[in-house]
């Protein structure tokens, strides 16, 4: 018995020595939006070759959770599709910087027999989600889609039951378009939805419900709609054109958006002939004062992501940042203290 204990202790000690002697990579952790999870995964994979001393970990637990954990300082960076409010930042132990890293579109997915391609506009969408437009062959919808035969099926609007940045972008858009929505429901990551339709958890939940329920309509990130091959609508933008969500149309919206110095902005219903109206940026949130080594690796990664990493974004259905915005963000990153 004692010999076995001796051998085991020697083995454990040996492992301990070996692990101590190797140079451990610095571990940088972040969490937040599920919207950017695909692009972060790809970026970390590619960046591992650029900076071999850092290891990045990201958990997609949702924008709100990402903001919360950043405030609790359990993470190095957070990711969110909704900007942090002044109230939320007032409770933070330090100044928080918002850095937009991608922009994406929210696709309006639906399930109709025959899978026709639909055109919709903001007022009609608001009417559907307010419960005012209840059937697919309502005159407002048929007026936008001449030549498409729409059934008298009941519309089932599906929303997110959990808090989500996608909901934020969607409700932001409806608040801008429709006054009744802006007064009664307002915008947020979780809102008091009008009493129509059902809620589903996560974008995958919404996609599942839309796929199963004939006559349903929902919203999800463009990447989800493409991956699951669910039909989505062309939306009428502020210039009166019907635009399909795609990296190009989201970039067009981004190009015409006015972006203040703290980079908290909204780009819904952007002007511009090719802009997709239901788009939003996604931010990485960091403290301006980064303690030590991890901060240097994090800022190095961010500088790479904002410039070289943007070439990867369109392959995953995200819109890259325009060059001028990239330069402004690099200047902000230079103000980080260590």
């Amino acid at each position: 018995m004692s010999r076995l204990t001796a051998v085991l202790s020697a083995v454990v000690f040996g492992i301990f020595l070996v692990s101590c002697s190797k140079n451990q990579p610095v571990s940088v952790t972040g969490a937040g939006s599920s919207f950017d999870n695909p692009v972060f995964t790809k970026w970390f994979e590619v960046y591992a070759a650029v900076d071999t001393n850092a290891q990045f970990n990201y958990q997609s637990i949702g924008s709100g959770a990402g903001q919360k954990q950043l405030l609790n300082q359990t993470l190095d960076f957070g990711a969110s599709d909704a900007p942090m409010t002044d109230d939320a930042m007032a409770g933070a132990p330090g100044k928080i910087l918002h850095l937009p890293v991608v922009a994406g579109g929210v696709a309006i997915i639906y399930n109709l027999p025959g899978g026709p391609k639909l055109k919709l506009d903001g007022e009609t969408l608001a009417g559907i989600y307010l419960g005012q437009i209840t059937k697919w062959n309502d005159p407002k919808i048929t007026a936008l889609n001449p030549g498409v035969s729409l059934p008298g099926l009941a519309i089932i609007p599906i929303h997110r039951s959990d808090g989500s940045g996608t909901t934020f972008i969607f409700t932001d858009y409806l608040s801008v378009i429709n006054k009744q929505w802006a007064d009664s429901v307002k915008k947020g990551t979780a809102v008091n939805w009008p009493n129509v339709g059902i809620g589903a958890k996560g974008s995958e939940g919404v996609a599942d419900e839309v796929r199963q329920l004939s006559g349903s309509i929902g919203y999800a990130e463009l990447a989800y709609a493409n991956q699951n091959k669910i039909p989505y609508a062309d939306m009428k933008n502020a210039a009166g054109q019907f635009v399909s969500p795609a990296p190009d149309s989201v970039s067009a919206a981004l190009a015409t958006a006015t972006i203040p110095d703290d980079f908290r902005f909204s780009m819904v219903n952007a002007p511009g002939p090719n802009a997709y109206p239901i788009s939003g940026p996604s931010w990485i949130l960091i403290y301006q004062n980064q303690g030590g080594d991890r901060g240097k690796h994090l800022v190095g990664f961010l500088k790479w992501a904002i410039t070289d990493g943007q070439k990867i974004s369109p392959t995953l259905d995200y819109a890259p940042l325009p060059a001028e915005l990239q330069q402004r963000e690099l200047k902000l990153l230079d103000t980080v203290t260590y």
Binding site: G62, K68, I156, K186, G197, I198, D208
Partner: protein, 327 residues
């Protein structure tokens, strides 16, 4: 002299263990260690309750009693009330019990009185297997298989035949209060069946024999001698099932439609105390929202503890302190 022979232990239910004679230090340490373990469970539950209360304090201070009665859940404006969720929890549990209790008690009667011996053990095993299916898997199956089937075949039938009742009016979308009630029924059947079976088994044979002697038929024996004797215990079994139904989270979240709703139609989507926490807790940004969710958790914890304690009490007064599942 053997130490063991000098230790006489008298074990009676409820009384402590009396040790007479020499006990070694090891035994005493063992006693204290196990006492500590048992006590720590108490402490754990008390700590959970305390932490929930602490987290809920901002919401309790802001809303007071209105939290339980006002009816609006609005995260943007910061107005919260648990009433829609209390309603949803109660209604889904009631539907579950309505569907499960007749089925479970009938199964228990079948297993104890009527089933041939070769059938008993396999049936018992299948029922226990049903209890072993994880909640998420049942939710998955419910969402992809059961709910579409109900939506296409059963709900229109209900609407056309019983549509005059306010409970079955309105169009459903598949996930709704009734769907959640059905899946909960599936989940509580194993519990109610196995506890009922134990209760019915513990009815003294003398009762049955006396009824037979008086000339009762098979069903009359079951009704008069067994069921009415076991009434209290069966009620306790039902309440145990209710305790499980109240706290069930994942399967309900997938099937209930997630809309805070109060009304009479079971075809509408709803929300329960457990499912609103599952949906909103990780994303609640404002302190008030988080605190309101803590308070929802506190309400749920309180209700579940009370219901389970009540069930245990009923079972103990019926069958004595040693009712446990035996195979």
């Amino acid at each position: 002299m053997n130490t063991a022979e000098t230790i006489i232990t008298r074990a009676t239910p409820g009384a402590g263990r009396t040790v007479i004679g020499v006990s070694r230090f090891g035994d005493r340490a063992f006693e204290w260690l196990t006492l500590l373990m048992a006590f720590s469970i108490f402490v754990l539950i008390a700590l959970i309750g305390f932490e929930l209360f602490r987290g809920a304090t901002p919401a309790i201070r802001k809303f007071g009693w209105h939290f339980l009665v006002s009816g609006t859940w609005n995260p943007v404006d910061g107005v919260f009330s648990a009433l829609p969720f209390i309603f949803g929890t109660l209604v889904t549990s009631a539907i579950a019990l309505l569907l499960a209790v007749p089925l479970s008690i009938a199964t228990a009667i079948f297993l104890t009185e009527l089933a041939p011996l070769w059938l008993r053990q396999p049936l018992i095993i299948f029922i226990e297997l049903l209890a072993a299916i994880p909640s998420v898997i049942l939710g998955f199956w419910g969402s992809y298989v059961m709910v579409p089937w109900l939506h296409i075949h059963i709900y229109p039938l209900l609407r056309s035949t019983l549509g005059f009742l306010p409970f079955f009016q309105g169009q459903d979308s598949g996930p709704c209060i009734l769907s959640a009630g059905v899946i909960l029924a599936i989940m509580v059947i194993p519990i109610i069946t196995s506890v009922s079976r134990e209760i019915l088994r513990s009815v003294p044979g003398l009762q049955r024999e006396a009824a037979y002697a008086l000339g009762a038929t098979r069903w009359e024996v079951t009704r008069i001698a067994v069921l009415s004797y076991a009434k209290r215990g069966l009620f306790g079994a039902v309440i145990l099932g209710l305790g499980r139904a109240l706290g069930e989270t994942m399967a309900v979240t997938m099937l209930i439609g997630n809309v805070p709703y109060i009304g009479l139609s079971v075809f509408k989507p709803g929300q329960t105390l457990a499912s609103v926490i599952a949906n909103e807790f990780t994303e609640a940004i404002t302190r008030l929202h988080t605190s309101a969710l803590f308070e929802v958790g506190l309400v749920l914890l309180g209700v579940t503890l009370v219901v389970n304690a009540l069930a245990r009490l009923l079972l103990i007064t019926f069958a004595g302190p040693s009712v446990k599942p035996q195979n």
